[in-house]
């Protein structure tokens, strides 16, 4: 017997405003990815310094430089990816994308502005994110500042066909 696909796969959502859970999970994935990459980079730098100078690199003794590097890295991580394709690694995994408020591709200037405004949403006890739930167009504070919106970009129809295809070998006997 073929199991019917999940309800979410029945409806095409491409271009629809993305919801809070998907966006939150994508943001979490991005924080994890950016921190993971940062830690890897820091480890590589520590190893290089240790090999080159014979002394171990201590983050505790270099708090200010490492913090500056972290801030710059986070800025580059989000701004570069948004400017390039409108989506970060986390967003690509969750199938969502940042676009201009009217639906056109986002300009690099908007990507930079959005990245700069993102800490604002986090800083006010995360209240900036509340707009995703209550605002009519599901736009957070940083979306309103940058004139952007987040939409679903994954193709539910293709996913449904993949789902059906996965069930197919049982019935075709191939």
């Amino acid at each position: 017997m073929i199991t019917p696909p999940p309800p979410a796969l029945y409806e095409g959502r491409q271009g629809h405003y993305a919801g809070a859970v998907t966006r939150l999970v994508a943001f979490g994935a991005d924080v994890g990815a950016s921190w993971g990459l940062y830690t890897l980079g820091l480890g590589a730098v520590s190893l290089t310094v240790a090999l080159a100078t014979g002394r171990a690199f201590s983050v505790g003794r270099n708090q200010v430089p490492t913090l500056i590097v972290l801030v710059v890295w986070e800025f580059l991580y989000f701004a570069y990816q948004w400017a390039l394709s409108g989506k970060t690694i986390g967003m690509a995994i969750l199938g969502i994308q940042v676009v201009s408020a009217d639906g056109r591709p986002m300009a690099p200037r908007q990507a930079v502005l959005r990245t700069l405004a993102l800490p604002l949403s986090v800083a006010i006890i995360g209240l900036g994110f509340l707009g995703i739930l209550v605002q009519r167009e599901r736009r957070a504070l940083h979306d309103l500042v940058a004139g952007t919106a987040v939409v679903y970009s994954w193709d539910a129809r293709a996913a449904r066909l993949r789902w059906l295809a996965r069930q197919a070998p049982e019935t075709t006997g191939s």
């Binding site: 017997m1 073929i2 019917p4 696909p5 999940p6 309800p7 979410a8 796969l9 029945y10 409806e11 095409g12 959502r13 491409q14 271009g15 629809h16 405003y17 993305a18 919801g19 809070a20 859970v21 998907t22 999970v25 995994i93 969750l94 199938g95 676009v99 201009s100 408020a101 009217d102 639906g103 056109r104 739930l133 209550v134 009519r136 167009e137 919106a149 939409v151 679903y152 994954w154 539910a156 996913a159 449904r160 066909l161 993949r162 789902w163 059906l164 295809a165 996965r166 069930q167 197919a168 070998p169 019935t171 075709t172 191939s174």
Partner: protein, 185 residues
């Protein structure tokens, strides 16, 4: 027989004279010359063609036509050569044809499904599909409750940016349901 024989004779004579005169007149008329002087277009413009066509029994005419014989006389190759295939294809609404295809039952019940399965199937794709579908489900759950709390009509909310979707849900056509055979054991 007529009661007055004189009258009969006069009538016959008049008939004979009339026939002779008409014959002579007709012989002397150059019909081609007259036809050349007639403005045929003007005459045709006064003809009610529709009324004439209405009086024609087309079915009867068609019944008398031997279509097979006509087709046999047609050089199809020559005809096809004159057809602008590109112009013809441009006029075809391919999307409408594709919409009419039941791709889902095709994928679910034919070898096509296993071909797609072999070419696109991967654990990563499966995991992504599940995560995204679950995410959308939870998004809808929270959106539903938020709308309920804010006493907001979901139908009044825009689905997405104007350049990407229709402004209201009413403008979005409903997706067709899965074919019944998919659920069958």
């Amino acid at each position: 027989m007529s009661p007055n024989p004189i009258n009969d004779r006069v009538e016959r004579m008049a008939q004979a004279i009339a026939e002779r005169v008409v014959g002579l007149v007709l012989d002397s008329i150059d019909l081609n010359a007259i036809m050349e002087r007639i403005d045929v277009d003007r005459v045709v413009s006064r003809v009610n063609a529709d009324a004439i066509v209405d009086r024609v029994d087309v079915e009867k005419i068609i019944d008398r036509v031997d279509v097979e014989k006509i087709v046999e006389r047609v050089d199809v190759d020559k005809l096809v050569e004159r057809v602008d295939v590109n112009a013809l294809v441009e006029r075809v609404d391919v999307r409408r044809i594709v919409d009419q295809l039941d791709i889902e039952s095709l994928v679910a019940q034919t070898e096509l499904g296993s071909i797609i399965f072999k070419s696109t199937s991967s654990v990563a794709a499966e995991v992504l599909d599940v995560i995204r579908a679950q995410g959308v489900g939870l998004d809808d759950f929270f959106a539903r409750w938020t709308n309920r709390i804010l006493r907001r009509d979901p139908a009044s909310l825009p689905l997405g940016p104007s350049a990407l979707v229709s402004p209201t849900p009413a403008d979005v056509p409903a997706l067709p349901a899965l074919p019944a055979q998919v659920d069958a054991p």
